[in-house]
């Protein structure tokens, strides 16, 4: 698994647009390698994927890469699943992508704790309609409501 392969893979999985950088633009190689090393078998799967796709994948056009990946997704969903997981994991943790998440989605780019999120407290007045509903549970002596 080398940087050129990871860039090509990330570009195919996550092409950029006017707001989001592509997977290749944010240079995921180092993070993808370290994430893959955390789970037994993932680095091997990535190496096997590279073998399956061959060097032509790196040199191919955008359309050729997509066609090659679609074939792998059909024929080797196990390898494709690992590749998609580790590349998306690296991408959605990259500081530049977290910055876009904050701007485009209003998402604070930090772990859930210790800060949490501000949410308006429960307002009991929303119960005004349902409180008027008749009893809806059965006692244990009758089959009827």
């Amino acid at each position: 698994m080398n940087a050129a392969f990871i860039d090509a893979l990330a570009e195919a999985l996550l092409p950029g647009d006017a707001h989001w950088p592509s997977g290749a633009e944010v240079d995921l190689a180092e993070l993808v390698q370290s994430i893959s090393a955390l789970v037994p078998g993932h680095t091997k799967s990535m190496d096997e994927l590279l073998q399956e796709l061959g060097d032509t994948f790196i040199e191919g056009s955008r359309l050729e890469r997509r066609a090659n990946l679609e074939a792998i997704e059909r024929e080797r969903p196990d390898l494709f699943g690992v590749a998609r997981l580790v590349v998306l994991d690296a991408y959605y943790r990259h500081p530049r992508v977290l910055g876009v998440l904050a701007v485009r989605c209003g998402y604070r780019a930090a772990p859930p704790q210790p800060t949490g999120f501000p949410v308006d407290a429960f307002d009991p007045s929303v119960l005004s309609t349902v409180r008027t509903m008749a009893k809806r549970w059965r006692d244990d002596t009758t089959a009827e409501l």
Binding site: R93, F117, V130, R136
Partner: protein, 538 residues
């Protein structure tokens, strides 16, 4: 907390096996009454500082060492579960607190009718106890665990004021609640074992989202931070890293204690006058089937492991055009509906289901497709991601599962844990009643989500990674030929052997079982205290 290995020869009044929801409640009740109680658990004390929610890679930790499925998580204390014969995969946690460490803490109660299923609806079996006998124990448990909610729900019997107010509905929850009102259908803010305000020395929730990864703040109740500190202060002892392999018996057929392996593989025996198993709906039948003779222990009925019930869960996810901050707030519940909970004619099924409204997921899980989202890779990925992230809420349809003896836990022929103890195998199939309920639940959930303004609704007929409610495998009943334990949770075959977890459920109802598990355990402890002089001693 320290882990002290106990050698052979140590004797206790009561030995509890399993430190989860039930074991903790049971041990607490005995300890505060002055009983010498010791608990063995194969896992360890959770370290809240290690919970995934405090780390940048929190979403992928969920997929690895914090996965709720023990076969994926595969920690040293986990035992494998053969699950290729069930479409619903096992979800549980081994450690002090048990599955409450990773639960989402939704805590509805059973209805009175749930204990009279055969009498009222002609299916399943009746329980040998009533809702009203459990009511005071539900209340005790609510105070000990610390719950949020609000009394007054027309779909449930009146209940005591909740210790803390309901969790916020959030933007999506408010829209969905209004849709229920508009349709004239029931909804109510969920009771949950998450404190919305500071309570009992614990901090209130700060709405971070993924409760099922453990709560480092301690706002979500898990028995390692609720019952156990109080039980230990009252004199209870917990031995961690103690993987129980067998319940031992005397020549007279009474339980004498348990043999267990420590983390180094050394074998020990702890003896006690009363043995209480609380090892989950999978772990408990596994232990009983591996104890005693060829047919297992306490199994003259042949029902140990039988009648496994799991709550099939379907999901309908609504996509809102505008952001609803779906990532903010406890993710697994904000409100529930029991409009279709009780049996009614004309629906095509008997019994019913609850709908639990959940929130959205974090960015990575959303990008990967979440539970039932559709996010492509390649061109279009970002556009679709923006349509979904922070824009969704899911209605989880929890269906009552009827008992069926063919659905079961048994010992696997080949698979073992690291100590050589046979692994359990789950054999389970959905029945036609559940399938009909799912179809009905998806249609009604779609109607609500569309009324709430969702332009798109994504459906999943069965959530596979949802085997968290493991019930029925040591059924409670009055007749020893058709049940394993009596109403006191005492096994019919062995007078000083109790089972107090969800294994004893006679039927499953259509709600999360944990408060009922804990109420039953507290009641069983009270009955044991009251009858202690009448319990035979080995």
């Amino acid at each position: 907390m320290t882990n002290r290995v106990v050698g052979s020869g140590e004797h206790h009044d009561v030995l509890v096996i399993g430190a989860g929801a039930a074991g903790a409640a049971f041990a607490w009740r005995l300890a505060v009454a002055g009983v010498d109680v010791v608990c063995l658990d194969r896992g360890h004390w959770p370290d809240p500082g290690a919970y995934a929610t405090s780390f940048p890679d929190w979403e992928t930790r969920r997929l690895r060492d914090w996965n709720p499925n023990p076969n994926v998580r595969s920690r040293p204390e986990d035992y494998p579960i053969a699950d290729d014969t069930t479409p619903i995969k096992p979800i549980l946690f081994n450690g002090i607190g048990g599955s409450t460490v990773l639960w989402s803490a939704h805590t509805p109660r059973f209805h009175p009718s749930d204990f009279r299923v055969r009498t009222l609806d002609g299916v399943g079996v009746d329980w040998p106890l009533t809702y009203w006998e459990l009511e005071k124990y539900y209340d005790i448990n609510d105070r000990l665990m610390g719950v949020c909610g609000i009394a007054g729900d027309p779909a449930n019997p009146p209940r005591s004021p909740r210790p803390t107010p309901p969790m916020p509905l959030g933007l999506a929850g408010a829209r969905i609640a209004a849709a229920f009102d508009s349709l004239g259908w029931h909804w109510w803010p969920s009771d949950g074992a998450i404190i919305s305000e500071d309570y009992d020395g614990r901090l209130g929730c700060n709405h971070c989202g993924p409760c099922e990864l453990g709560c480092p703040r301690g706002a979500k109740a898990s028995t390692d931070i609720t019952y156990w500190p109080k039980a230990i202060a009252a004199g209870a002892r917990v031995i961690t890293g103690a993987a129980v392999a067998e319940v031992t018996t005397s020549p007279a057929g009474l339980a004498t204690g348990a043999t267990w392996f420590d983390v180094h593989g050394m074998q020990h025996h702890t003896s006690a006058a009363v043995v209480v198993i609380a090892a989950s709906g999978i772990g408990t039948p596994r232990l009983l089937l591996h104890s005693g003779g060829r047919d297992g222990l306490a199994n003259s009925s042949g029902l140990v492991g039988r009648n496994l019930m799991l709550h099939p869960i379907a999901a309908a996810t609504g996509v809102f055009a505008e952001p609803v901050s779906g990532f903010a707030g406890n993710d697994a519940f904000c409100l529930m509906s029991q409009e279709f909970y009780e049996t009614a004619p004309g629906r095509g099924f008997v019994r019913g289901y609850e709908v639990q409204v959940t929130r959205g997921q974090g960015p990575l899980v959303t990008a990967l497709g979440g539970f039932n989202l559709d996010v492509p890779w390649g061109p279009g990925h970002h556009r679709r991601f923006e349509q979904l992230f922070g824009h969704v809420a899911t209605m989880a349809i929890t269906c009552e599962d009827l008992p069926n003896p063919d659905n079961r836990v048994e010992l696997d022929d080949a698979l073992t844990d690291r100590f050589g103890v046979p692994a359990p195998r789950m054999r389970y199939r959905l029945d036609a009643n559940s399938e009909a309920m799912i179809t009905h639940g998806l249609a009604t959930s779609r109607a609500v989500l569309e009324r709430a303004g969702c332009a798109e609704v994504l459906e999943s007929r069965l959530v596979n990674q949802a085997g968290f409610h493991l019930m029925g495998t040591c059924r409670m009943g009055a007749d020893e030929a058709t049940s394993v334990v009596d109403h006191r949770c005492r096994t019919h075959d062995i007078a000083n052997l109790l089972v107090v977890d969800s294994s004893v459920f006679a039927t499953a109802a259509a709600v999360n079982p944990t408060p009922t598990i804990q109420a039953i355990a507290l009641r069983a402890a009270d009955l044991l205290l009251g009858e202690r002089s009448g319990v035979p001693v080995p």
